[in-house]
């Protein structure tokens, strides 16, 4: 049981990596990066303590 631990951890590691990459790809296909860009190129009044 104990000897399977590193293999299980590596499985989770690579599984999460694949999931993260798939989510980024899905987000890019839906154009979510443009929503991020739109927000980031304007001064966020809430962030700086005004709005």
């Amino acid at each position: 049981m104990k000897s399977n631990r590193p293999a299980a951890a590596a499985g989770i590691r690579y599984g999460l990596l694949a999931l993260a990459l798939a989510m980024i790809a899905a987000g890019v296909i839906r154009g979510e990066q443009l929503e991020v860009l739109n927000k980031a190129v304007r001064i966020c009044l809430e962030c700086i303590g005004i709005g």
Binding site: R5, P6, A7, A9, A10, I12, R13, L16, L17, L19, A20, L21, A22, M23, I24, A25, A26, G27, V28, R30, E32, Q33, L34, E35, V36, L37, K39, A40, V41, R42, I43, C44, L45, E46, C47, I48, G49, I50, G51
Partner: protein, 302 residues
Amino acid sequence: MFGVHRDRVKRRPPLQRIVQLCSAVLFNGYALGFRKGKIFTGRSKAVCVPVLNCYSCPGALGSCPIGALQTSLGGAGRRFPFYVLGLLMLFGIVLGRAVCGLLCPFGLVQDLLHKIPVPKLKVPPALDRPARYLKYAVLLVLVVLLPALAVTGAGVAVPYFCKYLCPAGTLEGGIPLMLADPALRGLAGALFNWKALVLLVILAASALIHRPFCKYLCPLGAFYSLFNRFSFYRMELDKSACVGCKQCERSCPMDVEVTKNINGGECIRCGKCKAVCPTGAIASGFAFGVKGKSANDWRKSV
């Protein structure tokens, strides 16, 4: 006395500090913005940086992931934030909380403030342990639930964490922009006073307690801590070489039980334990293989 002076002159900045400074400059490389009092508007801002770095900082070349997550959750479209969450997971699984210890500019600010020679405060474990869970509450309530559920009349939600708590936004965005732009200064009111107070309290606490914001409040640290146990970049303790002197635990700024839980959620991979270990039993590095790597293997590979 002269000996102390000579020692100070000889001392080189640790690798952690060099990496922290480089990343702070890299993430905030638009120097012209500080002079003009304007923010960068290039396309690189479509990409989130791994650290808490306000996108309204005049130098910021990328987006803050926590700000972007709140915007995606609270936007008019109400869509699941695949892109931002995917990026956060990618940073988390590759680096874990090494992001906090090695890359975060606000972590660097806290580290430098802690160098101020004032008496240091040890938070009693009975208070410290439950308080560590606060950052998860901040992540869940201010970053996820309120932006997703508490919508204004205009159909969008306020970025609650940025608006009411984030000290990085005040320090990196609010203060430089207001110094450069009198019109913005004129708009500052009660909210700015509140945020300035939060910033002041955190900065003052940083001189007394090591990284209080990272320990108790940072939602990004809370998110990455979930990945620390599995991240590719990790710490390793060679138990056969450990002599149980506990120097590692005494030197740990995050009070991690290094000999019991070296890859626990609170470890920010700053490497202080590794530096003080008398037998070299602690190593850090990227683990790509299936087999567990010992500290000795890492030393050999380096």
